[in-house]
């Protein structure tokens, strides 16, 4: 087994960390382990997942590229840059590298969908779009059930929302 960092020397230091119910493994050669400050496997700094995450990150995003270098059209950031720093270039990068990031986010976080705070200005839009989706669903069901009276009512409700819904652009 080769070291996950230098990919040259044999790995002699093996780290395993369990975060939540996910297990992460890291295999390092002695030199890279030293360079990353992992001399004493019993020390708590081991649990510092940034070391683990940082490495996993570069592998994940690299594989997804399949050898073709993608660059962010907004800021010119590339996968190679991500491998180096573990940081992205700009907010747009999340779209550019969405595919490669998906798996990575799964290993890092509790979920892949944000459920926390939403800026006030966007919250109104978000609530409106959620409501619109719900009404459309109900409408389809009503039509399917041939419940035309309810369908007409729902159609009117949808009409009432949509003219103001120009800012709906859900990204």
């Amino acid at each position: 087994m080769l070291c996950s960092i230098c990919k040259e020397k044999p790995a002699t230091v093996h780290l395993t960390q369990i975060v939540g119910d996910k297990m992460q493994k890291l295999d390092l050669c002695e030199d890279c382990a030293k360079a990353k400050g992992i001399n004493d496997p019993t020390s708590f700094s081991l649990a510092d997942a940034d070391v683990l995450f940082g490495l996993g990150a570069s592998q994940e995003i690299e594989q997804s590229g399949g050898g073709v270098e993608t660059k962010c059209p907004r800021c010119g950031f590339s996968q190679a840059d991500f491998k180096k720093s573990g940081r992205l270039g700009c907010p747009e990068c999340y779209k550019t590298f969405a595919e490669g990031l998906e798996g990575l986010l799964k290993t890092m976080h509790k979920g892949t969908h944000h459920s926390g705070k939403v800026p006030e200005a966007l919250r109104a839009n978000r609530e409106q779009s959620d409501r619109l989706k719900l009404l459309q669903k109900k409408l389809a069901k009503a039509v399917e059930d041939e419940n035309f009276e309810q369908a007409a009512q729902l159609r009117d409700e949808i009409k009432q929302i949509t003219p103001r819904g120009t800012g709906l652009g859900v990204t």
């Binding site: 649990a47 510092d48 940034d50 999340y94 926390g116 800026p119």
Partner: protein
């Protein structure tokens, strides 16, 4: 504005109290935010960073919470000033390394601190003494809601607040507490505790955050995951875990005192002996020994009022704070001599640990 004229004196900081502050030294909630139309600070060129700084700084300064705040660009601060801010936990070591294009705004009470162009465009934090995670979250949530009216945040319906590092994505919240755990360290129970805390998806770090050692038996516990749960869920989980750690620490102290009183008295007595009599002492040794003296106060071996003496010395003996008191540039060796002088002087009036009364403070912890 001069930094040292603005900062609260260490003596005053040491007198601040909060719930459970025998064990929880401070609570902190940090949010990361970025502007929609700019590259992240680590990738942006200097003109873009300056533009972001110019857009954010007045917006932050205009907040009611930041009335009469200290506001400065990083290149106007000396290396020593930056180091002092790190020792006060107001800025990260990463931010201290920044120069042109980065800035800092914090209020007079040092309860709000905003770093501009650290790893993200905005890193804002609320700080509270003792265990006050909910209060800290409420405070920073409010500050953020005010700021979002003035700035156009990078936010995505699916991924939440977009951050330079994917590990902070989503809520972009870091909830943390600084814990003093000498009992668990002395009882050699700290490693299993750290491991079980890690299993809950929480990180345990040293005194100055990422990649630092636990000097003075001080540990930082914080959430690791930021995407997929609400801020409140994260705060509540951390709060629950902290209550358990507090209980374990109290138990460890009690058991140590019952089963191995001589070991405890020996550690504390030696710590006092060295601190009150040394003529040269490093910052690291000082912190580790002050930690034992702090434990001594908690256990009733020293009068309760000496807690603030110990806490003040904990700040004052750190390298930058020590250097600040002298005009000449000191070498590490010179600092060790002056640190020892200060400790001998400040501990002159503190009597030897009274082991007869030992344990008196345990049954009725001052803040529970």
């Amino acid at each position: 504005m001069k930094l040292d004229e603005f900062l609260i004196s260490p003596a005053e900081t040491a007198r601040r109290h909060g719930p459970h502050d025998r064990i929880v030294m401070s609570s902190r909630v940090r949010l990361a935010r970025n502007l929609r139309d700019a590259a992240f600070p680590g990738w942006a060129k200097k003109p873009e960073r300056l533009k972001v700084l110019e857009a954010i700084r007045p917006a932050v300064e205009s907040l009611p919470e930041m009335k009469d705040a200290f506001s400065e660009v990083m290149e106007n601060l000396t290396t020593l000033d930056k180091q002092i801010l790190v020792e006060r936990h107001l800025i990260s070591r990463e931010h201290a390394a920044k120069g042109s294009g980065s800035g800092l705004v914090f209020n007079r009470e040092e309860s709000f601190c905003v770093m501009i162009n650290e790893e993200d465009h905005l890193r804002m934090q609320a700080l509270r003494p003792g265990l006050q995670l909910r209060q800290a979250w409420g405070a920073i949530d409010h500050l953020d809601s005010e700021l979002e009216k003035k700035l156009d945040y990078a936010f995505n319906d699916d991924l939440g607040y977009l951050t330079a590092c994917p590990t902070n994505l989503g809520t972009a919240v870091r909830v943390s507490a600084m814990l003093h755990l000498p009992g668990l360290v002395l009882a050699e129970q700290i490693n299993p505790i750290i491991q079980s805390v890690n299993k809950l998806g929480l990180a345990v770090r040293g005194l100055y955050g990422e990649g630092t050692e636990a000097l003075g038996n001080v540990f930082q516990v914080s959430n690791q995951m930021t995407l997929g749960e609400t801020e409140t869920t994260i705060v509540e989980r951390l709060d629950k875990v902290l209550s358990q750690i507090i209980e374990h620490e109290e138990n460890a102290r009690q058991i140590l005192l019952e089963k191995k009183p001589k070991v405890v008295f020996n550690h504390i007595g030696r710590a006092y002996g060295i601190l009150a009599n040394a003529h040269s002492i490093s910052s690291k040794e000082t912190m580790n020994l002050l930690s034992l003296m702090r434990l001594g106060v908690d256990l009733g071996l020293f009068p309760a009022e000496e807690r603030s003496t110990v806490d003040e010395l904990f700040i004052m003996t750190q390298p930058a704070h020590l250097q600040k008191q002298f005009s000449d540039k000191l070498s590490a060796e010179e600092r060790d001599l002056l640190r020892a002088d200060m400790l001998r002087d400040r501990l002159k009036h503190v009597s030897r640990p009274n082991t007869k009364k030992g344990g008196a403070g345990l049954d009725k912890p001052a803040n529970s």
